[in-house]
């Protein structure tokens, strides 16, 4: 069969809308998972085991079950009682999933900051929280950056899974376009290329951020 990319060009505005949705979700999830992961990590590390076991259970649960199942659970399972809009479920589900992964990274990097830093800061008169905010967490964050950006690159690709609960991102709109035009190969190739381009940009961003972090420390 011959390739005919003219339907792709016809549906380009729709596809670009899907790209926009993907990018918006990506930004929202990135902010939520990094901030949330940081909070989860700090609470897990600096409170008693009795207090933080729900959080450790949360990390464990999200790391051992597949994303698709988590989304179905949140959308269809919880939907038995309250129907949450798909987009909210999508952002929250993906956000929680990567929050667990990021928290795991933050826990490791916070532990890797030498305890001498903490003690020196305390003996200089900083309080416990001030030491955390000004001394320990910034250093831990710098060390977490490579793995964090790695996670975010994986996350952008996982946004495609959200099409399964009916969110109009890239894969969803292309599936719609395919059902009208019957041109699966052309559309899937196009979105593969778009994903790859997004990825290349994110990889460039990753090297830039890492170089800056190395310069600052």
């Amino acid at each position: 069969m011959e390739f005919d990319f003219s339907p792709v060009i016809d549906y380009l505005p729709v596809l670009l809308q899907g790209v926009g949705v993907t990018l918006l979700i990506g930004v929202a999830v990135a902010v939520m998972s990094v901030v949330g992961g940081q909070i989860v990590a700090v609470i897990t590390l600096y409170t008693r085991k009795m207090v933080n076991w729900p959080l450790r259970f949360f990390i464990w649960l999200f790391m051992t079950t597949p994303l698709l199942l988590q989304l179905y659970f949140l959308y269809f399972g919880i939907g038995e009682w309250i129907l949450i809009p798909a987009i909210v479920v999508g952002v929250l589900g993906l956000g929680f999933h990567y929050m667990a992964y990021n928290a795991d990274i933050f826990i490791a990097t916070i532990k890797s900051v030498s305890s001498g830093q903490y003690e020196a800061s305390r003996s200089l008169g900083f309080g416990h929280l001030a030491t955390l905010f000004y001394v320990v967490l910034p250093q831990a964050f710098n060390r977490a950056l490579p793995q964090l950006s790695n996670n975010m690159i994986i996350m952008v690709k996982d946004i495609s899974v959200l099409s399964a609960i009916g969110i109009g991102e890239m894969v969803y709109v292309s599936q719609y376009a395919i059902s009208v035009t019957f041109r699966p190969f052309e559309f899937y190739i196009t979105i593969t290329v778009i994903y790859y381009l997004i990825n290349l940009m994110m990889e460039a961003g990753q090297t830039w951020i890492e170089r800056r972090a190395a310069y600052r420390s």
């Binding site: 051992t64 597949p66 659970f73 919880i78 038995e80 495609s160 899974v161 699966p184």
Partner: protein, 218 residues
């Protein structure tokens, strides 16, 4: 929660869980050979071969598994590549995990101090003998750890194969919901099964890791 229903549908889900294990195990098996081949190609003396292997790894890692599945399954027939859903899941899974695994294997091999290689070569070992007796035993621990993580990711990714209608755990769960209208119970049960599978994988990885690092002091 309707526990009677959960007991009733458990056998069906266990059967589907077996398909999940089956598809992941096959993908892991073939993926390992693809990964090894990629590692060899990446260190080839011929530049275009090296370049091709790197491009392949970069593209596979740069695009979603979801899209790769859809592309091969629905787009494949357009170029004469007609696969049944299960085979398609295994093939795409193997090629996908192979790219990630080749990086893991390369990382483990490169983590061995280059002095080991040089010392072994100067003692008269050949390239392959050095790899077999000196480099790989030392790299094995790290390799098993990182391949283990990838195996867990592979099991979790196998839930995506449900979109090309392979009757594995997630697809079976959806079918059961279609007939029982009890999403919470069914999804809870299937989540438990994933946890059991992944626990087993973690246990195997831990066992292999212990065995591989029996004689190494790190």
């Amino acid at each position: 929660m309707d526990f009677n229903l959960m007991i009733e549908i458990a056998p069906l889900l266990v059967q589907a869980a077996w398909v999940t294990v089956d598809i992941s195990a096959r993908a892991l098996f073939f993926g390992f050979f693809i990964a090894s081949a990629l590692v060899v190609l990446r260190t080839s003396r011929i530049r275009p071969v090296r370049w091709l292997a790197r491009a392949y790894i970069s593209v596979v890692r740069g695009t979603p598994y979801f899209v790769q599945l859809l592309l091969i399954f629905y787009g494949g027939p357009a170029i004469g590549l007609r696969l049944d859903p299960f085979t398609c899941g295994v093939v795409v899974g193997a090629f996908n995990i192979g790219a990630y695994m080749s990086e893991a294997i390369r990382g483990a091999i490169e983590s061995v101090d280059s002095g080991q290689n040089e010392a072994s070569r100067s003692l008269g070992f050949g390239r392959l003998t050095t790899l077999q007796y000196i480099i790989l035993p030392q790299a094995a621990g790290l390799m098993i750890r990182s391949v283990g993580v990838l195996a867990i990711i592979l099991v979790k990714n196998s839930s995506l194969v449900s979109i090309i209608s392979v009757v594995e755990l997630t697809y079976q769960a959806q079918r059961l919901i279609g007939s029982t209208y009890k999403p919470l119970e069914v999804f809870t049960l299937s989540a438990l099964m994933y946890i059991v599978i992944i626990y087993a994988v973690m246990g195997i990885v831990e066992f292999l890791y212990r065995r591989a690092t029996r004689y190494t002091f790190l």
